[in-house]
Symmetry: C2
Subunit: 518 residues, 2 copies
């Protein structure tokens, strides 16, 4: 399978119909496919060869959606860069993936000179805006001047995109997802998320994340309509749903919460909504009830997975969200394995644990990544025995529902973003005053969890919260920076093996054991 | 992908729930998977090695459904045999596919000694009935005595089944379908046919045909319930829909017609029906209106394809069957290409013809067969340029709907069965009195088309219809035997190249050019 086939098919079957809307611009499927074919030709003439990378650093836009196809159409791959990263983090991903082209938007063009210093592989930088500016290549001029290239037809097991994800080792890893990986995820989504040719999908989440990015492919395979907004802003989303008759949406529960609690919520007509899907963290029962009350016609579906799974592994169906349905007892679960996923719960020796017992969740299927870019050892470790080791702890009940109980990987999910504690701890330890530290997630009304640091200083030394915060900000993306600090004088509690016992540290903040949070 | 994964998943997620019902027998998903695992072990102990074939000659039953998994679970393949064939035709397929095991039901056990003479590869014959009989191996004893085998995990590009299909060369061909081929078809079906975990599918069509057989996999991937009836009998089907709350059904239009025109139709509660799908031939508008009147809650979907496409290539959505919908203008089409199918209309040089012009329909996608068993040259010819050449002539309109206008291959579709004229003509030519002949399809109220032969005898010789019918019956399956004859004394009309002009012969029987029939 080629992901570009979905675009070719939509252009063939729905050529004159609207495919993509963003900020007043509208493109039909014919125009969309034509622009992608021209961009692909331009990228090739700028030096993109088979398998070469095109990095993208931008907030959501119609032009970002085109990056999900144009590099692939030309035989290359896309590498989306997290806009929330610090410059050193961006440079790390660019050095690692060695793209030949960089596509940026106006919001990020000021970073280009710094990025180019650290990433010499980049030959050209393209400004993805309606008009050109400065020395960067003009996106629309490239399109206008190129003749459409034929689809390179590079599909199947070839990598389509590299999505960077946080890592327990303190450095992010490039997850290689193939055309087949992403096409399978789209096919499952058609059925589990009730996509159809009249679907109108609003893309609100950052497209450099798989949770939002994968929907570009699902919507295209379904031949639905893409409606893009720059990012999540409750009022913009409400307005857009009403104006564009949006049917499908994916949001983190924290964002859904902001949406339904917005004071102007009742002013908007949301009767077009058919499907609300969420992931990243559990949804409170009160929020579910509120959504059902406010948009009773909309189905609610939870997806659980990770970038390495393209990204969905389990799905919690609409019935499980209906308070009067017998399956409502499963609402605290992450749902059941999707069609082609073998999901097992295993012990440290990769042996199945009995049903109901806690172990690590491992997944096999055609949606499992090809591997980590440039990291054969980490790949072999993650995929040992043919199963992706999620690092999440959980159990499976007698009906095959998977319940997450903790993260084997020490990860915090804050507003839908994954923060790996080890990465933040590494940075704190670089501060000259810090002797030891632990970073944990603690409850937060708005973001689900927030990053909290417990720090012990060297004898005779100290630093304030502001100092530590500034130190972190110089090296980490904003969402990773601790929002609060505790300063200890006693040693942090350790296990017999000398590991800090984070469960002890978390206890005072969490009064009950909950999904994904302990 | 392994097709057996679908069964493993259903057993994991819905173990204690009903999976399969047939003739008073009921099996849960756990029991179904356990029986398949035991059968697989038994087949292996009887000599089935990796890639070995298990032939099946039976009418529909629960045990037939188990054949869609047990050989695969053990690492082998299934070869269904058409029960409507003559013994020489059956022997041809058995000689060609060289199975090590043959599974028969009581209705066909009297043929075993003849078949074994012609097919020496068969080492054991198993009687697929609740109780044993005579010298054949007892199916239930095999299950009871075997320990469950682990799934061989032979999936992906490995062949799962060989389905025999008629050929223009006068001999049937074994179509090799892989695990991936059939899994992709099932995934598309989930969405296009609105399958869900509460689907109850009645299997009425003969399972040795892909049109019915593929639904075994779709239903299993969806974790729906299989309800099996021995064959199509209108009253049994009506009763079963009511009793088992059937939601999904696939029928040829001729059978749908018999169903809705059955005098007792109104006595049955068919309110559970959600989806009626059909293929093989177009549906008359009057029939569509009648169905909508009688079962207004049911969606109607047409699928077009062929065995070589696992089997679906295009799908005509429910809206296209609603007389008040703008898309009703497409109801005479075969629908649009399904998600992963590239469908093109090409000329004799495999070049695209302009939209709206007639050419041969060719298809590329992950559902295209691996090839014809033992026939590398026919395979290369059929799959030239990477596209399956369907042999069907048609055009694509500006909205991507495919209209069939004729068959490039000279084929008659009678009651859902494909009859290749060349095969019947070959047999007629073996009769000592026949000088030349042509076999065509002519209109038939009940079966859509019926097989009609035009025969010219050698000088001074002749034969009656009865004599020719008996001659055909000795060599051909019943559905291929001409139902009527015309005897000519003049030469049959020929083209400049010396080919009989069948279009001329068909004209008097058909007053309008219609889909699939000219």
């Amino acid at each position: 399978m080629e992901l570009t086939q979905a675009l070719r098919r939509a252009a063939l079957l729905k050529g004159p119909q609207l495919a993509l809307e963003f900020d007043g611009e509208q493109f039909t499927w014919s125009a969309f496919a034509d622009r992608v074919a021209r961009l692909a030709a331009a990228y090739r003439s700028l030096g993109m060869g088979p398998g070469d990378r095109v990095a993208v650093l931008a907030v959501n836009s119609g032009r970002y959606v085109e990056q999900f196809f144009a590099p692939l159409w030309g035989g290359g791959m896309m590498v989306p860069i997290n806009t929330r990263w610090s410059v050193p983090e961006m440079i790390y991903a660019l050095e690692d993936s060695t793209p030949v082209l960089l596509v940026v938007d106006a919001q990020h063009s000021h970073l280009v000179s710094d990025l180019l210093k650290g990433a010499p592989s980049i030959r050209h930088v393209i400004l993805a805006e309606p008009q050109g500016e400065g020395e960067l290549l003009d996106y629309e001029a490239l399109i206008a001047e190129a003749a459409p290239a034929p689809d390179a037809g590079r599909g199947g097991d070839n990598v389509a995109a590299i999505f960077y994800t946080g890592g327990t080792t303190g450095r992010s890893k490039g997850v290689m997802l193939t055309h087949d990986n992403l096409f399978f995820n789209a096919l499952a989504g058609l059925s589990n998320l009730f996509f159809h040719p009249n679907t109108v999908h609003i893309h609100t989440g950052p497209l450099f994340h798989m949770a939002a990015g994968a929907r570009i492919y699902t919507t295209t395979v379904a031949m639905g309509r893409h409606v893009v907004v720059p990012g999540f802003d409750p009022l913009t989303v409400l307005k857009t749903i009403q104006e564009k008759h949006v049917t499908h949406m994916v949001l983190a529960p924290t964002m859904l919460n902001m949406l339904v609690n917005h004071p102007d919520f009742q002013d908007y007509d949301l009767s077009s909504l058919e499907l609300l899907s969420y992931g990243a963290s559990p949804m409170a029962e009160a929020l579910i009830r509120k959504i059902i009350e406010l948009v009773p016609q909309a189905k609610i579906v939870q997806s659980y997975g990770m970038t390495e799974l393209s990204p969905v592994a389990t799905s919690l169906s609409p019935e499980c969200h209906w308070p009067d349905h017998p399956l409502f007892s499963k609402v605290t679960s992450a749902g059941q394995p999707i069609f082609f996923c073998d999901v097992r719960i295993v012990d440290e020796g990769d042996q199945d644990v009995p049903r109901g017992e806690i172990g690590e969740i491992v997944v096999r299927g055609p949606n499992v990544m090809k591997g980590y870019w440039n990291k054969p050892e980490l790949t072999a470790e993650a995929l040992r025995g043919g199963y992706m080791h999620t690092g999440d702890a959980g159990y499976m009940d007698e009906d095959g529902f998977v319940f997450l109980v903790d993260r084997v990987k020490d990860m915090i999910i804050s507003g839908g973003e994954n923060v790996f504690s080890a990465e933040v701890e590494d940075v704190l330890m670089k501060h000259p005053a810090v002797l030891e530290c632990a970073v944990i997630g603690i409850p937060d009304e708005k973001w689900g969890e927030k990053v909290h640091a417990i720090v012990r200083f060297k004898a005779g030394e100290a630093a304030g919260s502001d100092d530590l915060t500034a130190h972190c900000r110089s090296l980490l993306g904003g969402y990773k920076i601790p929002r609060s600090f505790d300063f200890w004088t006693d040693p942090l509690p350790q296990s017999g093996a000398g590991k800090i016992l984070k469960s002890e540290l978390r206890k005072p903040f969490w009064d009950r054991k909950d999904r994904g949070i302990s």
